[in-house]
Amino acid sequence: MTSSQVIDMQSSTVAAAKTVPSWKQDGAEPFVKIENITKKFGEFTAVDNVSLDIYKSELFCLLGGSGSGKSTLLRMLAGFEAPTSGRILIDGVDMAGIQPWKRPVNMMFQSYALFPHLTVADNVAFGLKREGVSNSEAKKRTAEMLDMVQLGHLGKRKPHQLSGGQRQRVALARSLIKRPKLLLLDEPLGALDKKLREETQFELINIQEELGVTFVVVTHDQEEAMTLATRIGVMNNGVIVQTDEPHDVYEYPNSRFVAEFIGSVNLFEGQVTEDEPDFVRIASPEAGASLTINHGISCAPDQVVHVAVRPEKIHISHERPEQKDNYLQGEIEEIAYMGSLSVFKVRLPSGKEVRVTQPNFTRHMGERFTWNDKVFLYWDEDSSVVLTS
C-alpha cells in the first residue's frame, strides 16, 4: 500500500465520521431488508427468524463461529439457498424466486472459485461476456478492473500460476466487474497469511469506499470484522445476537456470548444490591468485592447478573488502590511476555482466574511483577459493563 493511499484512507475516514451514518438516520431506507428469514435443513434450523437492515454503501460484517448460520444467510442473499420462510428485499425488490444469475448481487467465494481453465483476464471478463457486453468494452473494463487490484500485468496468466494473494485479488476483480449493487464476500481474507491479511483489509476498505458498493462480509475472525466493518452483526445458533458498530460491540456487548466471542473478557457473577439511575452496585462473592458501574440498568432487585471487564482495562499494582470499590486481591499465577504487552493470570481467593494485560511502556515493565506476587487489581467505574443475559 502506498503512502498516498494511507492518506486517502485517513481523510475518507475523517469525512465519514462527520456525516451521520445512514443506520442512525430516522426514516433512512435500508438497501437490503431481511425480514424474518428462517432456513431449515431437515430438522436443523440454520437461520432462525433473522431480521436485518443493511444500508447503502455499508460494509456490514456477519461475525460468528462455524455453524452460526452466517454463511447460510449470505447464500440466501446470493440466491443459492431459498429461505424456508421470510423475505429478502434488495433495493426494494423482493428476491423470492429470483435466480442467482438474475440478481443484482455478486459474490466472492471463500475458495475464490476461479475458473482454472481460463486466464486471469478471461476470469475477470466472464461476468461481462454473459451480459453480452461488446468485446472492446469488456476488454477495456477488464483492464481497468485488473489495474485497480494491481494485477494489470498478469492478465494472461492462469490462476494456478498466481500466489494466494493474487488469486484473492482476481476473485475480487471478477466479482466487482459487473458493478453489482451488493457484493457478498465469504471469508474474503481467510486464506491469506496474517501480514497479507492486514494489508488487504485496508485495500478492501479503499475499494469499497471508491466504488460505493454495499459489502456484506462473512467472517469468523473478530479482528477482521472490527477493522473492516461499519457495523457488525454477531451471529450465534442461527440468530443475530447483536448488531452494532465495532466500537459498541466491543465496549457494550449486550450478552455474555458477545462479550466472550469478541476479544477476551473477565466475567464476575454477582447480585444487584443497589440500582440507582446513575450507578449500580453489585455484590460478587466470586470477585470477593463489591463492584460499581456508573450506569443504571433495568433489572429486578436481587437479580443475578454478570459484570464484564476487559483484561486491558484492569490495572495491576502491589499497593492497595485508593478507590472504595472495584478492586480485587489475588496472586499472580502465570505471566506471559508477548512483546508489546504482558499477560497476567491472577488467581482470586475464590478460585476465580482473572486475565489482565498491561502494555509494556518501558523495557523492564514485566520485571516489576513475578510469580506468586500478591497483587491488587482495580478498574474505573466506567470500564466495566453489566450483562443481564
Binding site: F80, P100, W101, M107, F109, S111, F115, P116, H117, S175
Partner: protein
C-alpha cells in the same frame, strides 16, 4: 585416473571424468523402475510389431509358416538376396475394398464413441456428485459387468435384439409395432454392442475428471450470470475435458479394430477392418496381406492419437 596427466590430456580426462560421474551418479533403483516396463514393452510389443512388419513385406507361400523369407542365401553361388515386397501395401491402396473397410471402421467407432460419451456423461456426473458410500456402490455397478465373460454379454444382446427377442416381444405386446423390428445383424446392433461393452471405459475417466471439479465453480458461474445450462458448457465440459479425451481414446481405439461385436451382432454388410483382418488371416491364409492391414491400421490410429496427445501436452505446458 593419474594425477600427473599433462595439460594436453586435460580436455580428454575431464570428459572422461564427466562420463565417470554419470556412471557413478546413475540411480540404479530408478533405472530398474523405468527399465523393467521398458524391457517388457520391447519384448512383448515392439519385437512382435517388428515381426508383423517383416511378414507384411514378404509374399505368401505354400509353406510353414505360409510366407517367404526376406533373406535368401544361395550356398552354391554364394549369392544373398534381400527381397522386400511392397505389393501388399500397394494392393491396399489399389483395392477400394480396404479403404472402405478402414473408413467404415472409423465411422462405426466414431459414432459409437460419440454415443458412449452421451450415455456415460450423466452416469459419471451422478456418481461424482453422490455421497461417499453410495459413490462406491455406483462405481462397483459400473465395473460389475466385467465380472462376466465379454462373449457371454454380447450373446445376451443377441437374445435381446433378435426377431423374437425381448425388445421385439415387449414392443409388440404394448402395440407400438405390429411387425417385429429387424435389429440383429444390422449396424444398429453393432453400435449398441460397442457402446454397451465399452461404456465403463468412458465412465471411469469422466468420473475421475468430474470428481475433482470444485462445485463452487458452478455457483460462481451462476453468480456471474450463467444459467445452469450455460454453466455446464462453459465450466463443466472444459473441466471434464481430460476425461473426455481419455475416455474417447479408450473407446475409439479398440472399437476401430473390434472383431467379435461386428461378427456376432453385425450383418454380412457390416464392414470392419477387424473382420477383414480375420478373413485375410484365416480364410485366405494370406499372412503378409493380413499383416499389412494390421500395420496400416496401427498407423491410421496412432498418428492422430499422437497429435492429440502432443497438443494436450503443449496446452498443459502453457
Amino acid at each position: 585416473m593419474s594425477i600427473s596427466t599433462g595439460s594436453a590430456w586435460v580436455d580428454g580426462s575431464s570428459s572422461l571424468m564427466k562420463r565417470y560421474k554419470i556412471l557413478r551418479g546413475t540411480n540404479w533403483g530408478k533405472a530398474a523402475v523405468v527399465g523393467v516396463p521398458a524391457i517388457w514393452l520391447a519384448v512383448f510389443f515392439f519385437v512382435p510389431f517388428l515381426v508383423v512388419f517383416k511378414i507384411s513385406l514378404s509374399e505368401t507361400a505354400i509353406a510353414v509358416p505360409p510366407y517367404t523369407s526376406l533373406l535368401e542365401w544361395d550356398v552354391e553361388e554364394a549369392y544373398m538376396t534381400f527381397k522386400l515386397n511392397l505389393g501388399n501395401y500397394l494392393y491396399l491402396l489399389e483395392d477400394a475394398f480396404y479403404l472402405d473397410a478402414y473408413l467404415s471402421s472409423i465411422k462405426i467407432a466414431g459414432v459409437s464413441t460419440f454415443f458412449a460419451l452421451i450415455v456415460a456423461f450423466p452416469i459419471a456426473y451422478l456418481i461424482a456428485r453422490s455421497e461417499g458410500s453410495r459413490r462406491g456402490l455406483l462405481l462397483a455397478l459400473v465395473i460389475l459387468p466385467f465380472w462376466t465373460s465379454f462373449l457371454l454379454r454380447v450373446y445376451a444382446w443377441m437374445g435381446f435384439l433378435k426377431k423374437n427377442g425381448i425388445v421385439n416381444e415387449f414392443l409388440l405386446s404394448i402395440g407400438i409395432i405390429d411387425q417385429p423390428l429387424i435389429m440383429l445383424q444390422t449396424d444398429f446392433a453393432v453400435y449398441i454392442g460397442i457402446v454397451y461393452t465399452y461404456l465403463p471405459f468412458m465412465v471411469l475417466p469422466l468420473y475421475s475428471a468430474l470428481e475433482k471439479m470444485d462445485m463452487t465453480l458452478l455457483e460462481a458461474a451462476e453468480d456471474l450470470g450463467c444459467t445452469p445450462m450455460k454453466g455446464f458448457f462453459l465450466i463443466t465440459v472444459p473441466q471434464a475435458m481430460p476425461g473426455i479425451i481419455a475416455g474417447c481414446l479408450l473407446v475409439f481405439i479398440p472399437a476401430v479394430g473390434e472383431f467379435v461385436i461386428p461378427a456376432l451382432l453385425g450383418g454380412s454388410d457390416t464392414l470392419m477392418i477387424g473382420r477383414v483382418l480375420w478373413d485375410e488371416f484365416f480364410l485366405n491364409r494370406d499372412w503378409p496381406m493380413a499383416s499389412a492391414v494390421a500395420i496400416v491400421m496401427l498407423v491410421v490410429l496412432v498418428l492422430p492419437i499422437m497429435l492429440v496427445r502432443n497438443s494436450q501436452g503443449k496446452q498443459e505446458a502453457i
